[in-house]
């Protein structure tokens, strides 16, 4: 990701130019000559932990918790588009914070009718939230489940092909993709955690969604053949990620669950291979048109040296107030046992407990 650094001035200039001649969602289109469409989202939070630093949230609390993204789309023709999205993200004292705004996406998209093709640095669909994991107005909590949606794997440098087919009352949405992944995680050192980024060139995968005849209910599956860099030997080996999702979203309630299983070579405490099983369930109810309550339970199990143990167990409860679909205020509390796999392991007590709260405001357009 570091190779796509751009200056703040560049991002502001692009944004300003876009604002001068664009339409956003819900704004009236000014005419057929409008070719540039601007969208964006922003979240600002205050977050505080009562014990360990979790997701960059320190015990003393932080206001340095925000994300901003601006997306510009140029409609070359009815079937051709260029898309660029810049993002700037800060998560408290996390070493994974962006040093500067990043170009997160940049791709060309062509609609062949039957198939849509995107080439470049393209958002890749994995599960329900891979590319909306930080869009606060869409999410029941500040972010999508942090054990499932790990940093990296949000885009692929390559190609993404998508197709949707009606099968009677059912609808199948399928995507295949191939290219390079960037993976981000935090490695412990004697002087504290450091950000580690690895990149592998040859990965491919698919995401399938089957929409059922019951409106709002769909099931999905993910399959990825990926290369991983061994944290100890730095050898690159090929592995398979498998996952499944279920989503039941209605007008006044939702329930969702997802599961992933993948290998992390050299990821065990003694440098041995590790199998990670990440899952979560979440549900919410709208009490009124504006108010909703939501709950989420992420659980991760790791298997190495022939034994399985629970590494992450988070229980979250939150309240969301959304005066309209473009603005949301949230207050959420989490009780975490263990740690998230991409953060430094808890030594000496891997089952350490931490309560953390996040109060946030989000807007999108």
């Amino acid at each position: 990701m570091g190779m796509y650094h751009v200056s703040v001035r560049t991002v502001l200039c692009v944004s300003l130019m876009s604002l001068l001649a664009t339409r956003g969602y819900g704004q009236e289109d000014q005419g057929e000559s409008d070719k540039i469409i601007l969208h964006g989202y922003f979240s600002q939070a205050y977050a505080k932990s009562d014990n360990l630093t979790v997701l960059g949230i320190p015990k003393g609390g932080t206001f340095n918790y925000r994300v901003l993204a601006l997306q510009a789309r140029y409609l070359i023709t009815d079937e051709d588009q260029l898309v660029v999205q810049g993002r700037y993200q800060q998560s408290g004292i996390s070493v994974l914070n962006d040093a500067a705004p990043q170009i997160q996406w940049m791709y060309y998209q062509h609609d062949f009718g039957v198939v849509t093709m995107a080439l470049g640095k393209v958002p890749v669909p994995i599960g329900l939230y891979n590319n909306t994991r930080e869009v606060g107005t869409l999410l029941p909590f500040y972010r999508a489940s942090a054990n499932y949606y790990v940093p990296g794997y949000e885009t692929i440098d390559g190609a993404v092909l998508s197709n949707a087919t009606r099968l009677g009352a059912w609808r199948l949405e399928s995507t295949v993709y191939g290219g390079a992944f960037t993976n981000l995680f935090q490695a412990p050192t004697s002087s504290g955690p450091v950000a580690v980024s690895t990149r592998t060139e040859y990965n491919y995968g698919t995401q399938l969604w089957l929409e059922t005849p019951l409106s709002g209910v769909r099931i999905g599956t993910q399959l990825v053949s990926y290369q991983a860099v061994d944290a100890v030997t730095f050898d690159t080996t090929r592995h398979t990620l498998v996952g499944g999702s279920i989503d039941a979203t209605f007008e006044h309630a939702f329930a969702r669950g997802e599961y992933l299983r993948y290998a992390i070579p050299g990821g065990g405490p003694a440098g041995q291979g590790l199998i990670e099983n990440d899952m979560y369930g979440e549900a919410g109810v709208k009490l009124t048109e504006q108010w909703s309550i939501n709950t989420q339970v992420p659980v991760s199990l790791v298997r190495y040296s022939g034994r399985t143990s629970r590494s992450t167990y988070d229980r979250a409860l939150g309240v969301k107030y959304a005066p309209n679909s473009d603005v949301a205020f949230k207050l959420e509390g989490h009780r975490l046992t263990g740690a998230f796999s991409w953060e430094p392991p808890l030594v000496p007590n891997p089952q350490g407990k931490t309560t953390y709260v996040i109060a946030s405001v989000s807007a999108s357009f």
Binding site: E28, H39, Q71, W105, V135, A248, T249, V285
Partner: protein, 144 residues
């Protein structure tokens, strides 16, 4: 667990769409008079306004024209045809936008402006209040 799913399903179903007959008089779907289409199913129209159908049968691109955000007719139309409230449609489009898949249809805030686009663009399709006067060059499509 089974009971929970059943409750959720009922809550969802109870909140989706008005019965078709209740809103049948409130809007009409319109296309350019040169468009050979005379009849569409609700599923066809829904797929067009969700941008799941992107081309007419003759391979020309479909240009859906939506009413502006906040318009009462938009909520009525979306509930009746797509089975989602305007708020759910907003969430749908946010998901489409920020997952990089697509952007919403162009919008117009007045019936006359929707009709103007449909009149001048042979590939356009829109919906307007059933009482709105239709100009020449625009025709109503029966939705079954």
């Amino acid at each position: 667990m089974r009971a929970t799913w059943a409750v959720l399903a009922i809550m969802g179903l109870s909140a989706t769409g008005l019965p078709a007959s209740a809103d049948a008089q409130e809007y009409v779907v319109v296309v350019n008079a040169e468009n050979p289409i005379t009849t569409l199913t609700k599923k066809d129209v829904a797929a067009i306004f969700l941008k799941q159908t992107t081309h007419w049968n003759d391979d020309n691109p479909v240009v859906p024209v939506d009413q502006a955000k906040g318009a009462k007719l938009r909520d009525v139309f979306m509930r009746a045809v797509v089975g989602k409230s305007a708020a759910s449609m907003d969430a749908y489009w946010q998901t489409q936008i920020f997952s990089g898949k697509n952007v919403p249809p162009i919008t117009r805030s007045k019936d006359a402006d929707v009709l103007a686009v449909v009149r001048t663009n042979v590939n356009a399709i829109g919906y307007v209040d059933a009482k709105a006067p239709l100009p020449q060059g625009v025709k109503v499509v029966a939705v079954k």
